[in-house]
Symmetry: C2
Subunit: 219 residues, 2 copies
Amino acid sequence: MTSSSDITITAFQRSPDGGRGLARDTRVRWALEEVGLRYDVRPLSFEAKKEPAHLAIHPFGLIPTFEQDDLAIFETGAIVLHLAERHEGLFPADAGGRARAISWMFAAVNTVEPPILELSAAVIFERDQPWAQDRLPIVKDRVRDRLRPLSDRLGDADWLDGDFSAGDLMMVSVLLRVRPPGLLDEFPNLAAYVARGEARPAYARAFADQLAQNTGAPA
Amino acid sequence: MTSSSDITITAFQRSPDGGRGLARDTRVRWALEEVGLRYDVRPLSFEAKKEPAHLAIHPFGLIPTFEQDDLAIFETGAIVLHLAERHEGLFPADAGGRARAISWMFAAVNTVEPPILELSAAVIFERDQPWAQDRLPIVKDRVRDRLRPLSDRLGDADWLDGDFSAGDLMMVSVLLRVRPPGLLDEFPNLAAYVARGEARPAYARAFADQLAQNTGAPA
């Protein structure tokens, strides 16, 4: 839900994915929706992201950022964790379950996502290189090396560790990026897991809001 | 410090780096040393990492893991965060500083490390591919695209945000991996930052312990 609020996040005015929900602001929007917080969005042009005003909040000139009162933080994982710690809905009540949910959050961004980012780079930035076609299978195998054990662990469970948590929010968001190249469908239980994430009302609201921004009139 | 303790971590019996401190158990050892906790190490062979007993603790068959009483967690970032939350020495006292330190932890593993992992893969696994030499400069530039804004932000400060924190521990650990290919020295303030990390007594103890394990007799 976007309306006047004391929380402001940043998102690209036009995401490179054209509103398919793969930009990282969708992850933060989803977390905000899960915990029921209103927020404002400050759309950022590709020029503005490298300007001092934005670099002061995000040192790498990326999105999203999160501002509330005098706090300004960056990195999707850190923002989702911040919300999960302070509001009900993203962490289990017990300390052990919470620590395990945080394990899954880091697994999403540091074990599963790196080869997925490499695949994106291969497909987008190295598309016209002479090695593009020969190298692609190698990079896809690197992604499969992460998806296979994840699929084994998930089995026929709905979520990674008991109820839906911030760990699932991050993992589903990361996995959404391997649906376009067809890798997700190689692991039917992961495809179903992602579909369960997308079916959550909070995700649907987050997706619709980022889509509206990407297809609406420029601010 | 390794001696009888209620904390057990896993590390590879022989790290692929031969004890240069680049394996991820060094990050957890360092954090344990910073907060002054004793721990035991369960060395893991390359065969054992894919066995059910280890996969039950680490779904991806990697190291390190952290066990204490009936808690078992995985992912370096999650373990360091767990320690930082419960013991003095890795997080600032104020909530805002703590949230910013967590931003830097995630920045280390999700913004700075992915292109570094890609560079490692290019150097190690794609060394003999026909594209190896032509592609390497492209991958190195991807790393520089992260190091440059990080260098700009650090400036002439000692640490990323006030006193040394878990954010610095993670960032220094990630940057250590770009010293061998020579990229770190292109940014003198980052090289000095990493050297400050290595000069900490807690790091020195962690490094010595992982080296002793890698060069000692097999368990």
